[in-house]
Each structure stands twice: as structure tokens, then as C-alpha cells.
């Protein structure tokens, strides 16, 4: 490990920027759909890079397989949760205009709704990508 200083330092320097870039992709063009998948992949790429440089064990300490696995399910729940919320507030499923009180501008609901949904996509894609990488890299079942 010790002779790969450049790799290790490079990884440490780059990681926060990659994470930031993932969030940039997530929030860019926030009023429209799309972006969550790519952001999730970029977010997961940090942990893949970390595992490649520092080894799988240390990566699993930073991001336990259990957490990655739970993220995969949580994101779906978050996505659907936004849909349920709009339904409980009187609209159709995923009709974001109903997310806030009626006197509120419905376009705000549309903004936050799509962000919430895309966040769900990000979390799921991130979790599944990391879990997939662990499964392939470990060549054994992930113990959850």
C-alpha cells in the first residue's frame, strides 16, 4: 500500500469533488425529471474508487454493505412516498401540485416533488451500484 502515495492522496483529494459533482448533477435542471440516475452512479463511483485504492475491507467500513443494501430499498420508498403524499393531499398519485397547501403556488409543489422523486432515484441507484460492486468484488454473498 505504501508505495502508492499518489493514488491514495489523489483519491482523498478527488472524493469530495466527485460527491459534489454528483449533487450538482442531481440539482442541475431541478424543475425537470431526470438526473437522479446519473447522480446516483457518480455518487457510487466514489466508493468504487475508494475500494479499488484502499481495498474492499476498508470500503466496507466506510460504507457497510448493510447500509448500501438498505439504501436500495429506501430510495424506492422515498420515491413512492412523494406519490403517496400527493395522493393523501387530494391529488392523483405523484401529482406534485398538491404537495403544499392550496394557497401556495402549485409550481413550488412541482419543484419540490420532482426533487424528492429524483432523490429517491439517487439513493436507490447509489445503493444498488455499491451493493453490486461489493457482490462482484467480494465474489460471495453480501451478509446483511
Amino acid at each position: 500500500m505504501d508505495d502508492r502515495v499518489i493514488l491514495r492522496v489523489g483519491t482523498k483529494v478527488l472524493s469530495p469533488f466527485i460527491l459534489l459533482f454528483a449533487l450538482y448533477v442531481q440539482f442541475h435542471g431541478d424543475y425537470g425529471p431526470g438526473g437522479g440516475f446519473q447522480a446516483g452512479v457518480i455518487f457510487a463511483a466514489v466508493f468504487v474508487l475508494y475500494a479499488l485504492v484502499f481495498g474492499l475491507e476498508r470500503a466496507m467500513e466506510v460504507m457497510p454493505a448493510k447500509v448500501a443494501y438498505a439504501c436500495g430499498a429506501l430510495g424506492v420508498a422515498l420515491y413512492l412516498g412523494v406519490g403517496y403524499l400527493s395522493m393523501f393531499r387530494g391529488g392523483e398519485f405523484l401529482n406534485y401540485s398538491y404537495l403544499f397547501d392550496p394557497e401556495h403556488d402549485p409550481t413550488h409543489g412541482q419543484h419540490y416533488g420532482i426533487i424528492g422523486v429524483e432523490l429517491g432515484v439517487l439513493v436507490t441507484v447509489f445503493g444498488v451500484m455499491v451493493a453490486l460492486f461489493y457482490a462482484f468484488a467480494g465474489r460471495r454473498r453480501i451478509d446483511t
Binding site: A70, A77, M87, G91, E92, F93, N95, T144
Partner: protein, 495 residues
């Protein structure tokens, strides 16, 4: 809340799936799966009632009205298919508790129930959506969860058969999405109702008609691969044989049925009966394949020594009956196909569940291991006989109703060959069902370690389906009314 019922039908099982996976404990996950399946069943019953009285229900997701947004369109056929899927899921999940506990490792139970819920969600979604791309998405949800459920089988061959199904299923799904893509290129829309309006105009203009024809071909091949029409059925026997018993029973009764529904949707609602049957001559290709499927697959079934495999080949033959009905292109023919879709779900579900009971007690479903089971597991084998009678088409069972309508359709269409094949197919069913009955009832067991009857938690769901197959065989009016009006609206959509 009731106006949101179409969405809830799909998203309640979808929401419960990640919750079951997160809780990750066998017992609670089963409770969640059960509540999801029974909720869907209740919702499907409600929706069918509403559709029969008020007509088609249209629901725009997210408040975006159809060509822009995705809409759910529930007509009689869609409501009927959701009822079949959710009813089988509701019975199947009760059955799954004991069967899964004995066949799948404990730490995978929660994942199994999550996959089960996703599968239910996907199949229901296919049935009620009115958007062709949404169909593809739900198709993938249901297929991926099906692959993973099959791979959980005890036998190591479950893995290879799941992989085989994955490859074939993905080829099918790719063909479907190519077909959808070509349609989108030509029409600029993905809504079924919109497509149905625009396709005839493009076809008539002669500009781009070839693209439409190619799209039609891709969709036909893709969907027939998914529904395992002979000779595209190669994935099915292995998948059904090596999957866990609970999965086989549930899947045999639902997933191919939903694919047949999809075929009906594309041929009748999107392309229209005139285009499908007069311009593209669909009957000329479907009918021979259906006839060959019935004869060839029934005779292959006769030579099987593993009963699950035998029933799987018989399923391919039965799919032949449904496609035969559809290929007549007449109201009564399509109705016969739809009736058989429902009836076959009941009887094949019952037969596979009975085999699951046998698997639970003796750990094998090979015919030679079933000697004397008629005596030691009387209720299980009686359920098998009950389902088998339907398979053969004995009067007072659902099998008879299906064949009656099929024969009527064949005779009305003046197709005597088809009528003969239907009868011969029934005789062949008699042979392969009898093979099992003979061994179970008339052969003595070599050793006498006692075999107990299957537990009630398996027998009750099995017998529910057997009882239903007799109930709807005697009271055939309900199903045939729904099927006839569904067929009329499918064929009437063109005019």
C-alpha cells in the same frame, strides 16, 4: 380515496416490497406480503364491479392527461386480468408461508416476499396501464422479480434455468421495446388510445407503412416469447420445474396469462383487429403454431417422469388453446381464449400447489416416488385429481367450459381441424394426468415409513383453487359474461 384506487392497486404492493426487504425478517415480511396481495385482490374486485357498471375507468398519473402523461385505462378485460392475478396472488401467498419455509433458506425469506410483491405489482401494472412504454417498464419489474424468485429453488439447476429464462425473457423484452420504439418514431405517441387512432392513418398513407409492419412483427415475436408460445417456449419447462413450489404455482397461473393479455392489447386495442387479422394475416401464423403446441407439447408431457415438468409442458399446450381461441379473430373465439385464461389459472395453480404439497412431504415430485400417495396423502392427491379433471375437460369443471367455447368457436369458424385438435388434446391430457393417478392410487409403496398428509396451511389454499375450478365450472355464467363483453369491446374498438 376511491378515485385513486387504480393507482393504489399497483403502488400498494410496490410500496410494501421495499418495506418487506428493509424489515428483513421472515414472519413480518410474510404478513406484509399477505396484506399487499389481499389489498390488491380487494381493489381488483372493486374495480371489476365499477367497470362492469360504469364502463372504462381512466386515471391520469400525476395529473398529466394522456398523450403527455401516463394514464391507466381499465376496461373489462383489464379488470378481469387484474382479478385473476390478484386472486391467485392472494391464495398463493397463504400457500407460500409453509412451502417457502421448507424450501428456501431462512435469511432469504424477506427478499423472496419482496420479489413476490414486486412481481404482483408488475403484473397488475401491465394489466391496467394505457401506455405502451409503461407496459415495458412493468414487464421488466415483473420479469426481473420472477427470475430472482425462480433462482431461489432448492435444486442447483434452478440457477441455470433462471439464467436461461433471463436471457430469453430479455430477448423478448428487447423485441417489445424495439417495436414500441418504432411505433413511437412513426406516430410520436406512446398512449394506446392515441396509437390506435394514428396507426391506421399512417398505414393507409403508404408512407412508413413498412415501419409499422416491422414494429408489429417485433411486438408479436417479443410478446409470444414472453407467453411461451411454441416454439418460443424453451425457457418455460426448466423455469417451472426448478422454481420453488410456491413460485411455480403462482407464476404458472399468472405471468403467461398477463403476457397473453398483452398480446390481446397490442393486436386488438393498439393495432386493431382489421390490421392484425386482415392485413397482417396473424391468424395464418398463430393458428398453426397453436395447433402444433397443443399436439406436440401434450405428447411431450406424456413422456415426462417429473410431474412439475409434465405440468409445465402441459402449460405450453394449454397456452396453445388460448392462442387458438384468439387466432379465430371472432368474438366467441377471443372470449374462449379469455375464459381459458381464467380457467387455466385456476386449474394449473391447483395442480402445481398439489405438487408443492407432495414436495413438502416426500421431497420429490418424480412419478416413481409417488407410489401409494393416494392412500397416505388422500387430500393432496384428491386435489390433484380435481385439477386433473379440469385439465381433461370433464363436464362440471372449468376445463369443460373452456373447451366448450373453443369448440363452438372452431365450429362457427368452420375450422374442423381445430375442433379435432381440441378434442385430441383433451384425450392426451387424460393420458398424462392418468399416469400420475395410476401410480399414486394403484401402486403400492415399497417401504412403509409413514408419510403424513400435507399440513392444512398448504391444503387450504390448494383446495380453494380446486373448489373454484368446480364452482366456475358449474356457474360458468359469471366468467363467460365478463369474457364475452370483454371480447366484444376488444373487437368493437376498431369500428
Amino acid at each position: 380515496m376511491s378515485q385513486n384506487l387504480p393507482a393504489l392497486l399497483v403502488v400498494v404492493p410496490m410500496m410494501l416490497a421495499p418495506i418487506a426487504a428493509l424489515i428483513n425478517r421472515s414472519g413480518p415480511a410474510w404478513v406484509i406480503a399477505t396484506s399487499g396481495a389481499w389489498f390488491a385482490f380487494g381493489a381488483a374486485v372493486q374495480l371489476l364491479r365499477r367497470v362492469m357498471t360504469e364502463g372504462m375507468i381512466v386515471y391520469s398519473l400525476g395529473g398529466w392527461v394522456a398523450p403527455i402523461g401516463i394514464e391507466y385505462r381499465i376496461d373489462q378485460l383489464a379488470a378481469f386480468v387484474t382479478l385473476i392475478v390478484s386472486a391467485i396472488a392472494a391464495v398463493g401467498v397463504l400457500y407460500a408461508r409453509t412451502s417457502v419455509a421448507s424450501e428456501i433458506e431462512e435469511d432469504r425469506h424477506a427478499l423472496f416476499y419482496a420479489a413476490f410483491l414486486l412481481n404482483v405489482c408488475g403484473l397488475l401494472g401491465i394489466a391496467i396501464t394505457g401506455d405502451v412504454f409503461n407496459v415495458f417498464v412493468f414487464l421488466e419489474i415483473s420479469s426481473l422479480s420472477a427470475y430472482s424468485m425462480i433462482a431461489l429453488g432448492q435444486d442447483r439447476r434452478a440457477l441455470t434455468s433462471a439464467f436461461q429464462y433471463l436471457i430469453m425473457g430479455s430477448v423478448g423484452a428487447t423485441f417489445i421495446v424495439i417495436g414500441i420504439g418504432l411505433l413511437f418514431v412513426m406516430t410520436g405517441t406512446l398512449g394506446m388510445a392515441d396509437l390506435a387512432e394514428r396507426i391506421p392513418a399512417i398505414w393507409a398513407s403508404g408512407d412508413g407503412d413498412r415501419t409499422i409492419a416491422v414494429a408489429f412483427t417485433f411486438l408479436t415475436v417479443g410478446v409470444t416469447l414472453k407467453l411461451a408460445l411454441f416454439p418460443l417456449h424453451l425457457w418455460l419447462p426448466n423455469a417451472y420445474t426448478y422454481a420453488p413450489s410456491a413460485v411455480t404455482g403462482y407464476m404458472a397461473a399468472t405471468s403467461t396469462k398477463v403476457s397473453i393479455y398483452l398480446l390481446l392489447r397490442f393486436f386488438f386495442s393498439v393495432f386493431g383487429v382489421e390490421f392484425s387479422f386482415e392485413q397482417m394475416r396473424l391468424d395464418a401464423i398463430l393458428m398453426p403454431l397453436a395447433l402444433v403446441a397443443i399436439l406436440a407439447m401434450s405428447s411431450v408431457a406424456i413422456y415426462q417422469s417429473n410431474v412439475k415438468r409434465l405440468l409445465a409442458f402441459s402449460s405450453v399446450a394449454q397456452i396453445g388453446y388460448m392462442i387458438l381461441g384468439i387466432s379465430f379473430g371472432s368474438v366467441i373465439g377471443v372470449a374462449a381464449g379469455i375464459i381459458h385464461l381464467f380457467n387455466h389459472a385456476l386449474m394449473k395453480g391447483a395442480l402445481f400447489m398439489a405438487m408443492g404439497c407432495v414436495m413438502y412431504r416426500i421431497g420429490s415430485v418424480r412419478i416413481e416416488d409417488m407410489k401409494g400417495l393416494g392412500k397416505s396423502m388422500p387430500w393432496t392427491m384428491a386435489a390433484f385429481v380435481g385439477g386433473g379433471l379440469s385439465m381433461i375437460g370433464v363436464p362440471m369443471t372449468v376445463g369443460f367450459v373452456s373447451k366448450w367455447y373453443l369448440l363452438q368457436a372452431a365450429i362457427k369458424g368452420g375450422n374442423w381441424l381445430a375442433a379435432v385438435v381440441v378434442v385430441v388434446g383433451s384425450l392426451m391430457a387424460l393420458v398424462y394426468i392418468w399416469k400420475v393417478i395410476e401410480v399414486a392410487y394403484f401402486k403400492r409403496r415399497e417401504n412403509d415409513d409413514p408419510i403424513e398428509e400435507a399440513p392444512l396451511s398448504l391444503l387450504i389454499p390448494t383446495w380453494t383453487l380446486v373448489a373454484a375450478s368446480f364452482w366456475f365450472g358449474i356457474d360458468a355464467g359469471t366468467t363467460s359474461d365478463v369474457a364475452m363483453s370483454a371480447a366484444e369491446s376488444l373487437l368493437g374498438m376498431m369500428q
